[in-house]
Symmetry: C2
């Protein structure tokens, strides 16, 4: 099953164009297609049929892209996957309304799930969608808080990133008829995969290559995001370095490149990168450990390889 092909076959040639064009544009921008891939692997792991999980897999990809669309408005992000974001290419109102419609499209796809599986799949999906919004709200809240603890950060990224991956795997397995215990292990694999993924994202925001990464480097630094990098720096710095860091964070008028360079230099000095790499390794190992409880087959091998690949990604 080529998931990109399945996404390309979704029909957006509908009226009014102002509503559907931004949806087509968003979904054509590529991305890793991680969520539908996980849903398919979750099904494959338990010998289920691809065509039965496909509607849910597509729903998850459309929903994920909806969250990116609205997040980009809220974060005033201009570039995503190397292209202008919807609110830049069109305007804020278009991003809001086409985003709303994308969420509805996700539910439409979900509505195609087999009737006997639909109630549970819908309940899980709603729970996951709620947690993503809660995670986004915590992310916003934390930008104006000085005392964010690492445990709060971890919970925030679990909500914002992990639960969608866990849900994809869980839903795929459930549709294939997996037992509850296996489904739970698979969900936990997704949670750790997501945590590793997000810490890697935070790392790439500082040390990534703009062209490969697809978005501007240093965005988290400029908007004061309580990223893994910043929290680690704040928690490990001596008094003087901490003052320096806070000085730069408070300088909202600073020339962006200068600010990014200065904060990155402090991260270098504190070797924050090593701490991030250590955390990524730990969550990757924890994810792979969850796989040991699951059927040993080609799908499991792919899930293991995926965890390793994501831990070493540069985009």
């Amino acid at each position: 099953m080529d998931i990109n092909q399945a996404i390309a076959q979704l029909d957006w040639q509908k009226e009014p164009r102002g509503l559907y064009e931004p949806i087509a544009y968003t979904l054509a921008s590529g991305g890793k297609r991680l969520r539908p891939t996980l849903a398919l692997l979750g099904t494959e792991l338990f010998g289920g049929k691809e065509e039965e999980v496909l509607p849910a897999a597509l729903a998850l990809e459309v929903f994920h892209n909806f969250t990116l669309l609205h997040d980009d408005v809220m974060d005033r992000a201009d570039v995503r996957r190397g292209r202008a974001t919807v609110h830049v290419k069109w305007n804020d109102n278009t991003a809001i309304l086409s985003g709303d419609q994308m969420m509805i499209e996700a539910y439409k796809l979900l509505g195609q799930v087999k009737e006997d599986k639909l109630p549970q799949v819908l309940r899980w999906f709603n729970q996951m969608a709620t947690e993503i919004c809660e995670g986004q709200q915590y992310d916003v809240d934390y930008e104006s808080r000085e005392d964010v603890r690492m445990a709060e950060y971890t919970e925030m990224i679990r909500l914002k990133t992990s639960v969608l991956l866990g849900n994809a795997l869980q839903t795929g397995a459930y549709i294939a008829g997996a037992d509850q215990e296996s489904t739970a292990h698979l969900y936990n694999y997704g949670i750790h995969l997501g945590l590793a993924f997000q810490i890697q994202d935070d790392l790439l925001d500082v040390y990534g290559d703009e062209k490969t990464f697809g978005k501007a480097i240093g965005g988290d630094i400029l908007c004061g995001k309580k990223s893994f990098m910043l929290l680690t720096a704040l928690h490990t710095a001596d008094a003087q370095t901490k003052e320096e860091l806070k000085y730069w964070l408070a300088r909202r008028d600073a020339e962006p490149k200068e600010k990014i360079r200065a904060v990155t230099a402090l991260y270098d000095r504190l070797d924050v990168r090593s701490e991030a790499e250590k955390a990524i390794r730990e969550h990757t190992d924890a994810a792979i450990n969850e796989l040991s409880y699951l059927p040993a087959n080609a799908a499991r091998e792919q899930l293991q390889a995926l965890a390793e690949k994501l831990a070493n990604r540069s985009n």
Copy 2:
């Protein structure tokens, strides 16, 4: 069943407060509770149980309030039901994110519908939600178009307003086990009721009382909305009056009160109000006619009285 009480019992005392407070605020602002009332009457008409339709009824009210929340951001509306809108009381990002969560909450409530009815109810709901977004997009598109036809306007308000009323009635009846033909008549009643309702809304935007209406008078005039009033005026005016009207519409710099007064004077001269009242009467009669195909009982009487009441409303 007191629908206001059921809405008040929904629990928003959850964390993070920044996400849920605006939802509680929006749902506490009152309103006519028209959609859940219609869902309950749809069920009652066919002898169904109130508790079985309640989740869907609440889902419709939450969804409706979500659309108002996002519409108010897009329209830059400051006041709704006599209170500051969410994007004014908080900010745009809060309105976007809490709005998204409200849509998810609607789907959560919908997920509580009995499992044997859920697939169809979900499909109809998704179709209705899509049509509302399409209607909103047409509304936006028409603001910058000079040649909107009355048929386009009618289709736009059918999508933006009517389908939600039709869906509420249809869903209520379906959950009570109504046959397809009856459900279709009830849906059509909702469509006409919605058309009458929206034309009345357009009328009240010009001739309403600000205190009773709950929002600023003349909003449609200021933002160049292709309302029933404006389209009727443009289509019935002689060449000179049409020029006068276009002159005022083009004056985006005009003092708001002066512009509203001038356009209203032109509406007076063209007796647009009578045309609107005629259209409201026609759709109200058409709605009531659909009821003649349905069981003659107390619920049907209430639906008939409701159509009459809405045709004569001032808020």
